[in-house]
Amino acid sequence: MQWQAISDTALRFCCWDDEFVVYNIHSGDTHLLGSMAAQILLKLQQSPSDVATLTGLFTHLPLFEMKDELPLQIEHILADLNRLELITRS
Protein backbone atom coordinates (compact mmCIF):
# COMPACT_ATOMS: atom_id res chain seq x y z
CA MET A 1 0.00 0.00 0.00
CA GLN A 2 1.37 3.35 -1.06
CA TRP A 3 1.02 6.57 0.86
CA GLN A 4 1.48 10.18 -0.18
CA ALA A 5 1.38 13.60 1.45
CA ILE A 6 -1.85 15.52 0.85
CA SER A 7 -0.22 17.86 -1.63
CA ASP A 8 3.20 19.23 -2.34
CA THR A 9 2.08 22.82 -1.76
CA ALA A 10 -0.15 22.45 1.29
CA LEU A 11 2.46 21.95 3.98
CA ARG A 12 4.84 24.42 5.62
CA PHE A 13 7.70 23.18 7.79
CA CYS A 14 9.81 24.74 10.50
CA CYS A 15 12.65 22.88 12.15
CA TRP A 16 14.55 23.43 15.36
CA ASP A 17 16.89 20.83 16.84
CA ASP A 18 15.34 17.77 15.27
CA GLU A 19 11.74 18.67 15.98
CA PHE A 20 9.39 19.99 13.36
CA VAL A 21 6.37 22.25 13.42
CA VAL A 22 4.16 21.64 10.39
CA TYR A 23 1.33 23.83 9.17
CA ASN A 24 -1.38 22.49 6.85
CA ILE A 25 -2.65 25.32 4.66
CA HIS A 26 -5.86 23.46 3.79
CA SER A 27 -6.99 22.46 7.26
CA GLY A 28 -5.42 25.34 9.19
CA ASP A 29 -4.01 22.83 11.68
CA THR A 30 -0.53 23.03 13.22
CA HIS A 31 1.36 19.90 14.27
CA LEU A 32 4.48 19.16 16.31
CA LEU A 33 6.33 16.21 14.82
CA GLY A 34 9.38 14.30 15.92
CA SER A 35 12.25 13.79 13.54
CA MET A 36 11.14 10.38 12.26
CA ALA A 37 7.55 11.43 11.53
CA ALA A 38 8.76 14.59 9.81
CA GLN A 39 11.21 12.73 7.62
CA ILE A 40 8.49 10.29 6.60
CA LEU A 41 6.20 13.18 5.76
CA LEU A 42 8.88 14.94 3.73
CA LYS A 43 9.58 11.74 1.82
CA LEU A 44 5.88 11.26 1.08
CA GLN A 45 5.74 14.81 -0.16
CA GLN A 46 8.45 14.01 -2.71
CA SER A 47 6.88 10.76 -3.93
CA PRO A 48 4.36 8.09 -2.88
CA SER A 49 6.01 5.32 -0.87
CA ASP A 50 5.20 2.15 0.98
CA VAL A 51 6.39 0.93 4.37
CA ALA A 52 9.34 -0.95 2.90
CA THR A 53 10.70 2.14 1.13
CA LEU A 54 10.23 4.24 4.25
CA THR A 55 11.98 1.64 6.37
CA GLY A 56 14.94 2.03 4.07
CA LEU A 57 15.26 5.68 5.13
CA PHE A 58 16.27 4.70 8.64
CA THR A 59 18.04 1.35 8.47
CA HIS A 60 21.42 2.98 7.96
CA LEU A 61 21.24 4.69 11.37
CA PRO A 62 23.98 3.08 13.45
CA LEU A 63 22.35 3.11 16.89
CA PHE A 64 19.15 1.52 15.81
CA GLU A 65 18.83 -1.45 18.09
CA MET A 66 15.27 -2.31 17.25
CA LYS A 67 15.47 -2.70 13.49
CA ASP A 68 12.89 -5.46 13.57
CA GLU A 69 10.35 -3.16 15.07
CA LEU A 70 11.04 -0.42 12.58
CA PRO A 71 8.29 -1.32 10.09
CA LEU A 72 5.73 -1.52 12.89
CA GLN A 73 6.82 1.84 14.25
CA ILE A 74 6.50 3.30 10.78
CA GLU A 75 2.99 1.86 10.42
CA HIS A 76 1.99 3.59 13.63
CA ILE A 77 3.42 6.87 12.44
CA LEU A 78 1.58 6.50 9.12
CA ALA A 79 -1.69 5.83 10.98
CA ASP A 80 -1.13 9.00 13.04
CA LEU A 81 -0.25 11.12 10.01
CA ASN A 82 -3.35 9.80 8.25
CA ARG A 83 -5.55 10.62 11.22
CA LEU A 84 -4.11 14.15 11.22
CA GLU A 85 -5.11 14.48 7.55
CA LEU A 86 -1.48 15.02 6.50
CA ILE A 87 -1.28 11.98 4.23
CA THR A 88 -3.63 9.77 2.19
CA ARG A 89 -3.44 6.41 0.52
CA SER A 90 -2.35 6.86 -3.06
Binding site: I25, H26, S27, G28
Partner: protein, 358 residues
Protein backbone atom coordinates in the same frame (compact mmCIF):
# COMPACT_ATOMS: atom_id res chain seq x y z
CA UNK B 1 -32.95 55.71 6.02
CA UNK B 2 -31.46 54.23 2.97
CA UNK B 3 -29.76 57.52 2.27
CA UNK B 4 -28.17 57.58 5.74
CA UNK B 5 -26.73 54.21 5.23
CA UNK B 6 -23.11 54.46 4.18
CA UNK B 7 -22.90 50.71 3.66
CA UNK B 8 -25.52 50.86 0.91
CA UNK B 9 -23.64 53.69 -0.77
CA UNK B 10 -20.41 51.70 -0.47
CA UNK B 11 -21.90 48.64 -2.15
CA UNK B 12 -23.59 50.66 -4.89
CA UNK B 13 -20.47 52.67 -5.67
CA UNK B 14 -17.22 51.51 -4.11
CA UNK B 15 -15.31 54.22 -5.99
CA UNK B 16 -17.11 56.89 -3.98
CA UNK B 17 -15.36 55.66 -0.83
CA UNK B 18 -12.14 57.40 -1.80
CA UNK B 19 -13.87 60.71 -1.02
CA UNK B 20 -15.06 59.82 2.48
CA UNK B 21 -13.94 61.90 5.46
CA UNK B 22 -12.43 60.20 8.50
CA UNK B 23 -15.62 60.79 10.45
CA UNK B 24 -17.64 59.10 7.68
CA UNK B 25 -15.21 56.18 7.65
CA UNK B 26 -15.66 55.88 11.40
CA UNK B 27 -19.42 55.45 10.88
CA UNK B 28 -19.14 53.23 7.79
CA UNK B 29 -16.85 50.78 9.55
CA UNK B 30 -19.33 50.42 12.40
CA UNK B 31 -22.37 50.00 10.16
CA UNK B 32 -20.53 47.53 7.94
CA UNK B 33 -19.28 45.48 10.85
CA UNK B 34 -22.81 45.21 12.21
CA UNK B 35 -24.09 44.16 8.79
CA UNK B 36 -21.27 41.58 8.34
CA UNK B 37 -20.24 43.44 5.20
CA UNK B 38 -16.91 44.99 6.19
CA UNK B 39 -14.83 42.31 4.49
CA UNK B 40 -17.08 42.54 1.44
CA UNK B 41 -16.38 46.27 1.17
CA UNK B 42 -12.67 45.51 1.52
CA UNK B 43 -12.94 42.96 -1.31
CA UNK B 44 -14.74 45.48 -3.55
CA UNK B 45 -11.94 48.01 -2.96
CA UNK B 46 -9.26 45.35 -3.51
CA UNK B 47 -10.86 44.36 -6.83
CA UNK B 48 -10.73 47.96 -8.01
CA UNK B 49 -7.20 48.60 -6.77
CA UNK B 50 -8.46 51.32 -4.44
CA UNK B 51 -7.28 50.11 -1.04
CA UNK B 52 -4.19 52.32 -1.01
CA UNK B 53 -6.40 55.37 -1.40
CA UNK B 54 -8.15 54.69 1.89
CA UNK B 55 -6.63 56.73 4.77
CA UNK B 56 -4.34 54.62 6.99
CA UNK B 57 -6.58 54.40 10.07
CA UNK B 58 -9.70 53.01 8.38
CA UNK B 59 -7.52 51.00 5.99
CA UNK B 60 -6.24 49.07 8.97
CA UNK B 61 -9.78 48.08 9.89
CA UNK B 62 -10.40 46.86 6.34
CA UNK B 63 -7.23 44.77 6.61
CA UNK B 64 -8.44 43.31 9.90
CA UNK B 65 -11.68 42.29 8.16
CA UNK B 66 -9.81 40.88 5.17
CA UNK B 67 -7.88 38.53 7.45
CA UNK B 68 -11.14 37.19 8.87
CA UNK B 69 -12.68 36.57 5.44
CA UNK B 70 -9.52 34.80 4.29
CA UNK B 71 -9.73 32.47 7.27
CA UNK B 72 -13.42 31.82 6.67
CA UNK B 73 -12.73 30.87 3.05
CA UNK B 74 -9.98 28.48 4.17
CA UNK B 75 -12.27 26.91 6.76
CA UNK B 76 -15.23 26.51 4.39
CA UNK B 77 -13.19 24.76 1.74
CA UNK B 78 -11.73 22.36 4.24
CA UNK B 79 -15.11 21.72 5.81
CA UNK B 80 -16.62 20.91 2.43
CA UNK B 81 -13.73 18.51 1.75
CA UNK B 82 -14.51 16.78 5.06
CA UNK B 83 -18.25 16.63 4.29
CA UNK B 84 -17.52 15.15 0.88
CA UNK B 85 -15.29 12.54 2.46
CA UNK B 86 -17.98 11.65 5.00
CA UNK B 87 -20.74 11.31 2.42
CA UNK B 88 -18.90 9.63 -0.44
CA UNK B 89 -20.14 6.23 0.76
CA UNK B 90 -23.81 7.23 0.81
CA UNK B 91 -23.77 7.50 -2.97
CA UNK B 92 -26.16 10.43 -3.43
CA UNK B 93 -25.29 13.72 -5.09
CA UNK B 94 -24.78 16.47 -2.53
CA UNK B 95 -25.90 19.94 -3.55
CA UNK B 96 -24.04 22.80 -1.89
CA UNK B 97 -26.22 25.78 -1.03
CA UNK B 98 -25.54 29.49 -0.59
CA UNK B 99 -22.07 30.45 0.66
CA UNK B 100 -20.58 26.99 0.18
CA UNK B 101 -21.78 26.97 -3.42
CA UNK B 102 -20.40 30.46 -4.12
CA UNK B 103 -16.96 29.51 -2.84
CA UNK B 104 -16.68 26.17 -4.62
CA UNK B 105 -18.10 27.50 -7.90
CA UNK B 106 -15.81 30.56 -7.59
CA UNK B 107 -18.68 33.01 -7.92
CA UNK B 108 -18.41 36.74 -7.10
CA UNK B 109 -20.59 36.64 -3.93
CA UNK B 110 -17.81 34.57 -2.33
CA UNK B 111 -15.44 37.56 -2.29
CA UNK B 112 -15.12 38.95 1.22
CA UNK B 113 -17.95 36.77 2.49
CA UNK B 114 -18.21 35.49 6.05
CA UNK B 115 -19.66 32.06 6.56
CA UNK B 116 -21.40 30.40 9.45
CA UNK B 117 -22.99 27.00 8.86
CA UNK B 118 -22.54 24.90 5.72
CA UNK B 119 -25.86 24.14 3.99
CA UNK B 120 -26.35 21.11 1.77
CA UNK B 121 -29.36 19.55 0.08
CA UNK B 122 -29.84 15.81 -0.38
CA UNK B 123 -32.81 13.68 -1.49
CA UNK B 124 -35.40 13.27 1.26
CA UNK B 125 -35.18 9.49 1.08
CA UNK B 126 -31.46 9.57 1.90
CA UNK B 127 -31.77 11.69 5.05
CA UNK B 128 -31.30 8.86 7.51
CA UNK B 129 -28.24 7.51 5.73
CA UNK B 130 -26.73 10.97 5.42
CA UNK B 131 -27.33 11.66 9.08
CA UNK B 132 -25.77 8.33 10.03
CA UNK B 133 -22.71 8.93 7.84
CA UNK B 134 -22.20 12.36 9.35
CA UNK B 135 -22.47 10.98 12.86
CA UNK B 136 -19.95 8.28 12.03
CA UNK B 137 -17.52 11.00 10.98
CA UNK B 138 -17.90 13.09 14.09
CA UNK B 139 -20.97 15.29 13.71
CA UNK B 140 -23.67 15.24 16.40
CA UNK B 141 -27.13 16.75 16.58
CA UNK B 142 -27.31 19.63 19.03
CA UNK B 143 -29.44 18.94 22.08
CA UNK B 144 -33.05 19.72 21.38
CA UNK B 145 -36.11 19.31 23.49
CA UNK B 146 -38.74 16.82 22.30
CA UNK B 147 -40.89 19.53 20.79
CA UNK B 148 -38.06 20.86 18.64
CA UNK B 149 -37.07 17.35 17.55
CA UNK B 150 -40.61 16.60 16.38
CA UNK B 151 -40.87 20.04 14.79
CA UNK B 152 -37.81 19.37 12.66
CA UNK B 153 -38.67 15.80 11.70
CA UNK B 154 -42.28 16.43 10.90
CA UNK B 155 -42.46 19.92 9.49
CA UNK B 156 -39.11 21.32 8.55
CA UNK B 157 -37.23 21.03 5.30
CA UNK B 158 -34.04 20.16 7.05
CA UNK B 159 -32.52 18.01 9.80
CA UNK B 160 -31.72 19.76 13.07
CA UNK B 161 -28.30 21.41 12.77
CA UNK B 162 -25.40 19.03 13.40
CA UNK B 163 -22.17 20.16 15.00
CA UNK B 164 -18.80 18.47 14.53
CA UNK B 165 -17.50 17.42 17.93
CA UNK B 166 -13.86 18.25 17.22
CA UNK B 167 -14.01 21.09 14.71
CA UNK B 168 -17.21 22.64 16.21
CA UNK B 169 -18.41 23.52 12.70
CA UNK B 170 -22.12 23.20 11.94
CA UNK B 171 -23.85 21.57 8.98
CA UNK B 172 -27.49 22.05 7.97
CA UNK B 173 -28.84 19.19 5.88
CA UNK B 174 -31.85 20.20 3.79
CA UNK B 175 -34.12 18.11 1.59
CA UNK B 176 -36.04 21.08 0.21
CA UNK B 177 -35.64 24.83 0.27
CA UNK B 178 -38.87 25.52 2.14
CA UNK B 179 -40.80 23.42 4.65
CA UNK B 180 -43.68 21.27 3.45
CA UNK B 181 -46.02 23.40 5.52
CA UNK B 182 -45.02 26.60 3.72
CA UNK B 183 -47.45 28.48 1.57
CA UNK B 184 -45.39 28.10 -1.59
CA UNK B 185 -43.70 24.91 -2.74
CA UNK B 186 -40.61 25.08 -4.91
CA UNK B 187 -40.33 21.45 -6.02
CA UNK B 188 -37.03 20.01 -4.76
CA UNK B 189 -37.03 17.41 -7.54
CA UNK B 190 -36.95 20.14 -10.17
CA UNK B 191 -34.11 21.88 -8.32
CA UNK B 192 -32.20 18.63 -8.09
CA UNK B 193 -32.55 17.69 -11.73
CA UNK B 194 -31.29 21.08 -12.91
CA UNK B 195 -28.33 21.10 -10.49
CA UNK B 196 -24.84 21.11 -12.04
CA UNK B 197 -21.72 19.20 -11.09
CA UNK B 198 -18.82 21.30 -9.86
CA UNK B 199 -15.76 21.19 -12.10
CA UNK B 200 -13.55 18.30 -11.10
CA UNK B 201 -16.05 16.63 -8.77
CA UNK B 202 -18.34 13.68 -9.42
CA UNK B 203 -20.66 14.05 -6.46
CA UNK B 204 -20.75 17.73 -5.52
CA UNK B 205 -23.27 19.95 -7.21
CA UNK B 206 -24.62 23.47 -7.12
CA UNK B 207 -27.96 24.84 -8.28
CA UNK B 208 -28.36 26.07 -11.84
CA UNK B 209 -27.90 29.88 -12.05
CA UNK B 210 -31.58 30.85 -12.01
CA UNK B 211 -32.22 28.41 -9.15
CA UNK B 212 -29.31 29.84 -7.21
CA UNK B 213 -30.85 33.31 -7.46
CA UNK B 214 -34.30 32.01 -6.55
CA UNK B 215 -32.97 30.11 -3.57
CA UNK B 216 -31.13 33.15 -2.28
CA UNK B 217 -34.29 35.20 -2.77
CA UNK B 218 -36.42 32.55 -1.04
CA UNK B 219 -34.07 32.47 1.90
CA UNK B 220 -34.12 36.25 2.26
CA UNK B 221 -37.85 36.67 1.87
CA UNK B 222 -38.69 33.88 4.30
CA UNK B 223 -36.05 34.67 6.89
CA UNK B 224 -37.37 35.82 10.26
CA UNK B 225 -34.12 37.25 11.61
CA UNK B 226 -32.89 39.84 9.18
CA UNK B 227 -29.62 40.92 10.77
CA UNK B 228 -27.96 39.41 7.70
CA UNK B 229 -30.67 40.75 5.39
CA UNK B 230 -28.51 43.29 3.64
CA UNK B 231 -25.74 40.74 3.23
CA UNK B 232 -28.24 38.34 1.62
CA UNK B 233 -29.43 41.13 -0.70
CA UNK B 234 -25.79 41.80 -1.62
CA UNK B 235 -25.47 38.10 -2.55
CA UNK B 236 -28.54 38.40 -4.80
CA UNK B 237 -27.23 41.59 -6.40
CA UNK B 238 -23.84 39.95 -7.02
CA UNK B 239 -25.42 36.83 -8.56
CA UNK B 240 -27.66 38.92 -10.81
CA UNK B 241 -24.76 41.05 -12.03
CA UNK B 242 -22.71 37.94 -12.75
CA UNK B 243 -25.33 35.76 -14.44
CA UNK B 244 -27.16 38.74 -15.96
CA UNK B 245 -24.40 39.33 -18.48
CA UNK B 246 -25.89 36.43 -20.45
CA UNK B 247 -29.00 37.68 -22.29
CA UNK B 248 -30.93 34.40 -21.93
CA UNK B 249 -30.59 34.53 -18.18
CA UNK B 250 -33.34 37.08 -17.49
CA UNK B 251 -36.23 35.49 -19.43
CA UNK B 252 -35.09 32.11 -18.07
CA UNK B 253 -35.27 33.51 -14.52
CA UNK B 254 -38.91 34.58 -14.96
CA UNK B 255 -39.90 31.21 -16.43
CA UNK B 256 -38.16 29.32 -13.70
CA UNK B 257 -39.85 31.42 -11.00
CA UNK B 258 -43.21 30.37 -12.46
CA UNK B 259 -42.15 26.71 -12.56
CA UNK B 260 -41.00 26.83 -8.96
CA UNK B 261 -43.99 28.67 -7.51
CA UNK B 262 -41.68 31.57 -6.61
CA UNK B 263 -43.00 34.55 -8.54
CA UNK B 264 -43.84 36.56 -5.39
CA UNK B 265 -40.37 35.89 -3.99
CA UNK B 266 -38.63 36.89 -7.23
CA UNK B 267 -40.69 40.04 -7.53
CA UNK B 268 -39.62 41.23 -4.08
CA UNK B 269 -35.99 40.23 -4.57
CA UNK B 270 -35.67 42.10 -7.86
CA UNK B 271 -37.57 45.09 -6.51
CA UNK B 272 -35.41 45.51 -3.41
CA UNK B 273 -32.15 44.75 -5.19
CA UNK B 274 -33.02 47.48 -7.64
CA UNK B 275 -34.32 49.99 -5.10
CA UNK B 276 -31.64 49.53 -2.47
CA UNK B 277 -28.53 48.39 -4.34
CA UNK B 278 -29.36 49.83 -7.80
CA UNK B 279 -28.97 46.42 -9.45
CA UNK B 280 -29.43 46.81 -13.22
CA UNK B 281 -32.51 44.68 -13.88
CA UNK B 282 -33.73 44.94 -17.51
CA UNK B 283 -37.05 46.80 -17.84
CA UNK B 284 -38.87 43.95 -19.51
CA UNK B 285 -37.77 41.56 -16.78
CA UNK B 286 -39.06 43.88 -14.07
CA UNK B 287 -42.32 44.17 -16.01
CA UNK B 288 -42.66 40.40 -16.40
CA UNK B 289 -41.85 39.90 -12.71
CA UNK B 290 -44.88 41.99 -11.78
CA UNK B 291 -47.05 38.88 -12.06
CA UNK B 292 -45.66 38.16 -8.62
CA UNK B 293 -46.60 41.53 -7.18
CA UNK B 294 -49.05 41.71 -4.28
CA UNK B 295 -51.84 44.31 -4.32
CA UNK B 296 -50.89 47.95 -4.00
CA UNK B 297 -51.66 48.28 -0.31
CA UNK B 298 -49.69 45.18 0.61
CA UNK B 299 -46.82 46.36 -1.55
CA UNK B 300 -46.69 49.71 0.23
CA UNK B 301 -46.61 47.90 3.56
CA UNK B 302 -43.85 45.51 2.44
CA UNK B 303 -41.81 48.42 1.09
CA UNK B 304 -42.13 50.16 4.42
CA UNK B 305 -41.07 47.06 6.33
CA UNK B 306 -38.25 45.82 4.10
CA UNK B 307 -36.70 49.21 3.43
CA UNK B 308 -36.07 49.39 7.16
CA UNK B 309 -35.39 45.78 8.08
CA UNK B 310 -32.84 45.32 5.30
CA UNK B 311 -30.68 48.13 6.67
CA UNK B 312 -27.79 47.23 9.00
CA UNK B 313 -29.00 46.67 12.54
CA UNK B 314 -27.22 49.81 13.75
CA UNK B 315 -28.77 52.88 15.41
CA UNK B 316 -27.47 55.16 12.67
CA UNK B 317 -29.50 53.22 10.09
CA UNK B 318 -32.74 53.01 12.04
CA UNK B 319 -35.73 55.16 12.75
CA UNK B 320 -38.60 54.84 15.21
CA UNK B 321 -40.36 52.29 12.97
CA UNK B 322 -37.41 49.98 12.44
CA UNK B 323 -38.00 47.88 15.57
CA UNK B 324 -41.63 47.31 14.64
CA UNK B 325 -40.69 46.50 11.06
CA UNK B 326 -38.31 43.77 12.22
CA UNK B 327 -40.89 42.27 14.53
CA UNK B 328 -43.57 42.25 11.87
CA UNK B 329 -41.28 40.59 9.34
CA UNK B 330 -40.34 37.97 11.93
CA UNK B 331 -43.99 37.08 12.38
CA UNK B 332 -44.58 37.18 8.63
CA UNK B 333 -41.68 34.75 8.04
CA UNK B 334 -43.10 32.29 10.50
CA UNK B 335 -46.53 32.71 8.96
CA UNK B 336 -45.13 31.94 5.53
CA UNK B 337 -43.52 28.76 6.81
CA UNK B 338 -46.48 27.43 8.76
CA UNK B 339 -50.26 27.42 8.68
CA UNK B 340 -51.84 29.53 11.48
CA UNK B 341 -52.73 26.72 13.90
CA UNK B 342 -49.21 25.33 13.88
CA UNK B 343 -47.74 28.81 14.11
CA UNK B 344 -49.72 29.66 17.21
CA UNK B 345 -48.69 26.40 18.81
CA UNK B 346 -45.07 27.01 17.83
CA UNK B 347 -44.84 30.58 19.10
CA UNK B 348 -46.77 29.64 22.25
CA UNK B 349 -44.33 26.86 22.94
CA UNK B 350 -41.31 29.01 22.19
CA UNK B 351 -42.50 31.79 24.44
CA UNK B 352 -42.58 29.60 27.51
CA UNK B 353 -39.25 27.90 27.12
CA UNK B 354 -36.34 30.04 28.27
CA UNK B 355 -33.89 30.58 25.42
CA UNK B 356 -30.87 28.30 25.35
CA UNK B 357 -27.57 30.12 25.87
CA UNK B 358 -25.77 30.54 22.53
Amino acid sequence: MISNCLVVQAIRQPESLTFLSLADWDLLLRQARRANLLSRICALLDERGLIEQVPPQPREHLEWARAIAKKHAQDVQWEIAMIRKALVGVGVPVILLKGGAYVMAKLPPAQGRLFSDIDIMVPKGSLNEVEAALMFHGWATAELDDYDKRYYRTWMHELPPMQHTRRTTVIDVHHAILPETARTHPDPEKLRSAAQLLDGYDNLKVFAPADMVLHSATHLMHEGELHNGLRDLVDIDSLLRHFGSSPTFWPGLIERAKELDSTRTLFYALRYAQLILHTAVPEDTMEAARIGSPNRVMLMLMDMLFSRALMPDHPSCSDWLTGTARKMLFIRANWLRMPPVLLARHLFHKAFISPKPE
